[in-house]
């Protein structure tokens, strides 16, 4: 449990969600997170940057489109401004555009209805473009009955694809209120319901989100066309 730095990269604050930045940071810090990513929808940007001495605020954005044609333009517009760029999944064409764009960090909110629009082809692209797949655990926390059954079944399937094609996975709360956050231990237990091993779930809450944040913080300070192939003696790419 201890020793890891935990991050939740899909959190919505006012005016998107119902809690302020301060409340979110306080609750997340109390529950043991090292940082949270604020990913409000693009038309509902958070009013001001709050800060907290013990927990990191990662600036992000959540892009939700009905039509995949606008997606790439929006991604280009926000990429330089944020440290974590999240695309809300939808139809297969939206998901495909998202995983084919290396500027996307996380594909989240994959539909949990009959067709979730994710398959082996998209999994392969996600791996090639280093797009992570998010498991939004609010689907298990808030839903009951048939919907939750579908969500769990889809999560299990997506996890199987992610394992086979080595796609990064992250666990997120998709919190709209500060009461929607769950402590890392609970998130790991919930992930166990659809077959995630403890160490996998731990990585999906700590090292993988951390890597996404670091990758973008480094990129934003670099001129275009330059790529780091070695960092602190560690081979990248």
């Amino acid at each position: 449990m201890s020793g890891s730095d935990y991050y939740d990269l899909n959190i919505h604050v006012l005016a998107d969600g119902s809690s302020s930045v301060k409340q979110m940071l306080s609750v997340a810090n109390h529950l043991g997170y090292s940082g949270i990513g604020i990913t409000n929808h693009i038309d509902k940007e958070p009013p001001s940057d709050g800060s907290h001495e013990d927990i990191e605020l990662v600036r992000g954005v959540g892009i939700e489109v009905r039509n995949s044609s606008k997606l790439h333009g929006l991604i280009g517009k926000y990429r330089k401004k944020v440290d974590v760029l999240v695309v809300h999944g939808g139809s297969e064409s939206i998901n495909r555009s998202a995983v084919e764009n290396p500027n996307v960090d996380v594909l989240t909110n994959l539909p949990t209805g009959r067709d979730n629009g994710f398959n082996h082809v998209l999994a392969k692209s996600a791996h090639d473009n280093e797009v992570a797949i998010a498991f939004n655990l609010d689907a298990i926390i808030k839903q009951r009955g048939g919907r939750r059954v579908h969500a769990l079944a889809h999560f299990r399937k997506n996890l199987q694809l992610a394992r086979k094609y080595h796609v990064s996975t992250v666990l997120t709360s998709n919190a709209m209120s500060c009461y929607d956050i769950r402590a890392p231990g609970e998130m790991i237990a919930l992930a166990g319901l659809f077959g995630m091993e403890k160490d996998e779930a731990n990585a999906a809450l700590s090292t993988i989100p951390e890597r996404i944040i670091k990758r973008n913080r480094r990129n934003s300070s670099m001129p275009q066309g330059v790529r780091i192939i070695q960092y602190n003696g560690q081979e990248l790419c």
């Binding site: 301060k22 409340q23 109390h30």
Partner: protein, 122 residues
């Protein structure tokens, strides 16, 4: 009634937990939530195997007992609780121990109760 010899008793685990909620939660409300969520997630059959029992709840801190091996499932059930007594709530598992005493000493004592800061003006 004869007491069951220790070797025949089910091994237990004790979860120290904290409720993050605006109000002080009553034992009945919390129990209702635990059992309805447990029934929704793992059903009557699973619930009977997990052997969940709320031993103590005081000022939104409590001790919950479950069978050894069911700790993760119990945590998952607690995580699906979203409201208690009509108020939004988070159940935070502070730690798991093998006895009530160690759970209390390690995780409950010396711990201040927490409440969400209120800043409606923002």
């Amino acid at each position: 009634m004869k007491v069951l010899p220790p070797t025949l008793r089910d091994p237990k685990r004790y979860l120290a937990l904290e409720l993050i909620c605006e109000v002080r939660v009553s034992r009945e409300d919390f129990l209702n939530e635990i059992f309805s969520n447990s029934a929704a997630l793992i059903g009557d059959f699973g619930s009977s195997q997990a052997g969940i029992r709320l031993l103590d709840l005081n000022d939104n801190m409590g001790i919950l007992r479950c069978k050894r091996g069911s700790e993760d499932l119990t945590r998952a059930i607690l995580a699906t609780i979203t409201r208690v007594g009509g108020y939004p709530a988070i159940v935070n598992v502070l730690g798991i121990a093998g006895t009530v005493r160690s759970a209390t000493e390690k995780y409950i004592e010396k711990r201040d109760s927490y409440s969400v800061p209120n800043d409606k003006h923002i």
